[in-house]
């Protein structure tokens, strides 16, 4: 009878521990969602269209699309936490140019670019 109690005790502790670890892992991964990113929709293709992914509490993002020294597009967009925003950019007359995408959110700035 004592042995069965030991077995049951071990099983209960294991179930409780593992449930806690599952929960805490999910919580860690969720808490880790305090970042944002910017990336090209098609990294290999010609299109300079890009996506802003927001995993922060900040919802206001300002972006500038620059060709050489010319600003092609600038806009402030609102993106809620956990959401993404696709920004479409026309890809005309890009030969021998670099398209820079600069995105600002709070104090942070991210930049991506493509060389044509």
């Amino acid at each position: 009878m004592q042995q069965k109690k030991i077995i049951i005790f071990v099983i209960i502790l294991f179930v409780l521990s593992s449930a806690y670890l599952f929960f805490i892992n999910d919580k860690h991964l969720d808490a880790g969602k305090d970042w944002w990113a910017v990336y090209f929709e098609d990294p290999k293709g010609e299109s300079p269209s890009f996506i802003i992914e927001n995993n922060t509490k900040e919802t206001e993002f300002e972006y500038l699309v620059v060709k050489g020294n010319v600003i092609l597009k600038a806009e402030v967009v609102e993106i809620l936490k956990g959401e993404t925003k696709n920004i479409s950019i026309e890809s005309n007359d890009l030969k021998n140019k670099r398209i820079n995408v600069e995105v600002y959110s709070g104090e942070e700035k991210m930049e991506i670019y493509k060389n044509y």
Partner: protein, 662 residues
């Protein structure tokens, strides 16, 4: 949803990792309660006065059914693959169910329909089904202590793991790739011929994933290893209990193995780090020793009047068959643990025969009778057929043997210093373990194979880790040194018990006892305390996973990816997003590895990230075809920004992806 996934996860574990072994034990032993050791009880001075060791107690069935299930599961998977059946939820459930049903059928045929004969047999065997084995009857104080030790073990380890459970560990990432291959392709992995990976390290994860749907990126791999680790502690408890026949020593062993250094290697750190082979090996080794001990606990009385421990001949043969079966389970799981086991095994039997050299004429026939029984031989033949004709582990190759055997040259393989051994096993355990070894020698019960097991296991692992050149062992010494923890915990318990047993208890002794416990606890828990200060870095790992997902969806087999191992968190897990081969993506390794004169290696992975604009870098890009680079932009973006050939296509604070158009 969380509760549902939890229930499915536990059902998968019970079904695949406990039921097959439990069913096998039913088929072999039936529901027989343990036979009784008739003992004269004088507090802890219980002594066997008549025949009869138990078959298997409920706690033993619980702990050992896991190892048996893992081995059965491996054999089932090998078999269904051999006959061309894919590994899937249906094939696993049906084949495991068939195995369980066959075992139940055998049980019903052998035991259930013949109560009269079995009752008679039990009486004839000296069994009394209504009486519990005294060896497993604990006093209230002992029972409470066991529960407290188990509770503390769970608290310490779970607290540590809660900070490290996020899937970042490099080893775990590598292993889970192979497990995922099995889950996705339905085939056993071939490991591209790499001998460092062994099938048994991955089958249990794959099967639980297939049955439960638990994600490889969840806590489930760590939790499964955690279970193995806990069972290994109970295995040490059971082995100690059987060998010494003293509950106090077994409880002390549980104390020394479970809560002291509960976090350090090879315990919780190996669990969170995904050192799967070692964790499984540290479970299998004491369990296999247990079964050999039970198999060769022979009956008889020596010339000096010393009584042998007793096992009925039929049961001894069955225990040997189970030991052989579990041995192959270990061979299919981890080569280093198998190596350590085999070396220890040789010394155990050499020692046993040497100390009993005067009575070999009594012992040898008994050993041979067990050894050449149909149970042992048929099991050996079955396992060998599987090993050589159904599924052969990748490490069975001349090159792998050459790697592990020979005179060690590298500084990491020429042996550990005593200081290093001391830090590996811990001061209290080292001190008490040495005392235990000396006392074991003084009070040696030469007929008890268990004494030879504990002594030879310790001595052999110690020699393999400190003097590998004596044994032509060419394996990293610190990896072997970690195996010392388990036997030295048993010796510590024995030493501690024997010191107290032979000392008259007075206030001074009580005070010394108290100081010793405090000393052990302070040192043993110190590392756990410092480890708990570590703060998890979940943001980095989430960014790594998101970027990997992005690139995996937007690239194909023609693209070549190179990632950095120095500054990216959890980078070993990136390959699980691509699933395009174990070496995909390529990896810039630790910088020191490129400077290791004993192991020259390719330099392209270094050049392509560190100096992409150099001639070496350009040549490497051209030769390897690498066109995507995953780096930490804080450390490795400048060299790409300066170079107009690269596009920066993905940017987050912890991860940047650069693209080199062709």
């Amino acid at each position: 949803m969380f509760i549902y996934s939890q229930i499915i996860f536990y059902i998968a574990i019970v079904f695949a990792l406990f039921l097959p072994g439990y069913a096998l034990l039913w088929a072999i032993f039936g529901k027989r309660n343990p036979s009784i050791i008739r003992q004269a009880h004088d507090g802890e001075q219980s002594r066997t006065t008549s025949s009869g060791h138990g078959i298997l107690e409920p706690l033993e069935k619980f702990v050992f059914s896991f190892g048996l299930s893992v081995t059965i599961l491996n054999f089932i998977l090998f078999f269904i693959q051999k006959i061309g059946i894919s590994i899937s939820e249906i094939s696993i459930v049906s084949s495991v169910s068939i195995f369980i049903l066959v075992c139940l059928g055998i049980y019903l045929y052998r035991f259930h329909n013949k109560p009269a004969r079995n009752a008679t047999q039990s009486v004839a065997d000296g069994e009394d089904n209504n009486v519990e084995n005294p060896l497993f009857q604990f006093s209230l104080r002992q029972f409470t202590l066991i529960l407290i030790l188990i509770l503390l073990t769970f608290i310490i380890k779970t607290t540590y793991l809660s900070n490290t459970v996020i899937p970042t560990a490099t080893d775990m990432g590598h292993h889970m790739y192979w497990a995922k291959i099995m889950s996705e392709t339905g085939n056993l992995p071939t490991y591209d011929g790499m001998p460092d990976f062994i099938i048994g390290e991955h089958t249990i994860f794959s099967v639980v994933n297939i049955l439960s749907g638990a994600s490889y990126f969840s806590a489930f791999p760590v939790i499964l290893l955690y279970l193995v680790n806990i069972l290994s502690l109970l295995a040490v408890f059971l082995l100690t209990l059987r060998v010494f026949g003293k509950k106090s020593i077994a409880i002390l062993a549980l104390f020394f193995i479970s809560i002291l250094y509960a976090v350090s290697s090879p315990q919780a750190k190996f669990v969170s780090g995904g050192v799967i082979g070692n964790v499984l090996g540290n479970y299998f080794i004491p369990v296999i020793f247990y079964f050999y001990f039970r198999a060769f606990s022979v009956k008889g009385r020596s010339a000096s009047g010393e009584e042998f421990l007793l096992e009925k001949s039929r049961d001894a043969k069955t225990f040997l068959a189970l030991a052989i079966f579990l041995n192959f389970g270990l061979f299919y799981t981890h080569h280093l643990s198998s190596f350590v086991f085999l070396f220890s095994f040789i010394l155990i039997f050499a020692l046993f025969l040497v100390v009993n050299y005067k009575e070999l004429e009594i012992i040898f026939p008994k050993i041979l009778k067990v050894l050449f029984s149909w149970q042992a031989i048929s099991m050996m033949v079955l396992c060998l057929i599987f090993f050589f004709f159904i599924f052969t582990p990748t490490y069975i190759s001349p090159s792998a043997v050459d790697t592990a055997v020979g005179s060690p040259v590298k500084s990491t393989r020429t042996g550990l210093s005593l200081e290093k051994v001391r830090s590996t096993v811990g001061d209290p355990r080292m001190a008490l373990g040495l005392v235990g070894l000396v006392l074991l020698g003084i009070f040696y019960k030469k007929r008890n194979l268990g004494y030879s097991i504990v002594a030879a296991w310790t001595i052999m692992v110690f020699l393999m880790s400190t003097k590998p050149d004596w044994l032509f062992v060419d394996i990293p010494s610190n990896r072997i040194g970690n195996y010392l923890t388990y036997p030295i915990a048993i010796l510590s318990a024995y030493g501690f018990y024997m010191i107290l047993r032979n000392v008259k208890i007075n206030n001074l002794v009580r005070a010394s006892y108290f100081i010793l416990i405090i000393f052990a606890l302070t040192w043993g828990l110190r590392e756990a305390g410092s480890s708990l200060k570590d703060v998890p870095t979940s943001s980095e790992i989430v960014q790594t996973f998101s970027a990997s997902q992005y690139l995996a969806e937007r690239s194909d087999e023609t693209d070549k990816v190179l990632k950095d191992h120095n500054y990216l968190v959890g980078d070993a897990w990136i390959k699980l997003f691509f699933m395009r081969g174990y070496r995909y993506p390529l990896s810039r390794s630790y910088f020191k590895r490129y400077d290791d004169p004993t192991k020259p290696r390719e330099m392209c992975t270094l050049y392509m990230i560190s100096e992409p604009q150099s001639l070496n870098g350009k040549t490497c890009f051209s030769e390897t075809g690498v066109n995507f680079l995953m780096v930490n932009p804080e450390f490795d973006s400048g060299q790409f920004i300066k170079n107009n050939n690269f596009d920066w296509v993905y940017a987050s604070s912890e991860l940047g992806i650069f693209y080199l158009p062709r």
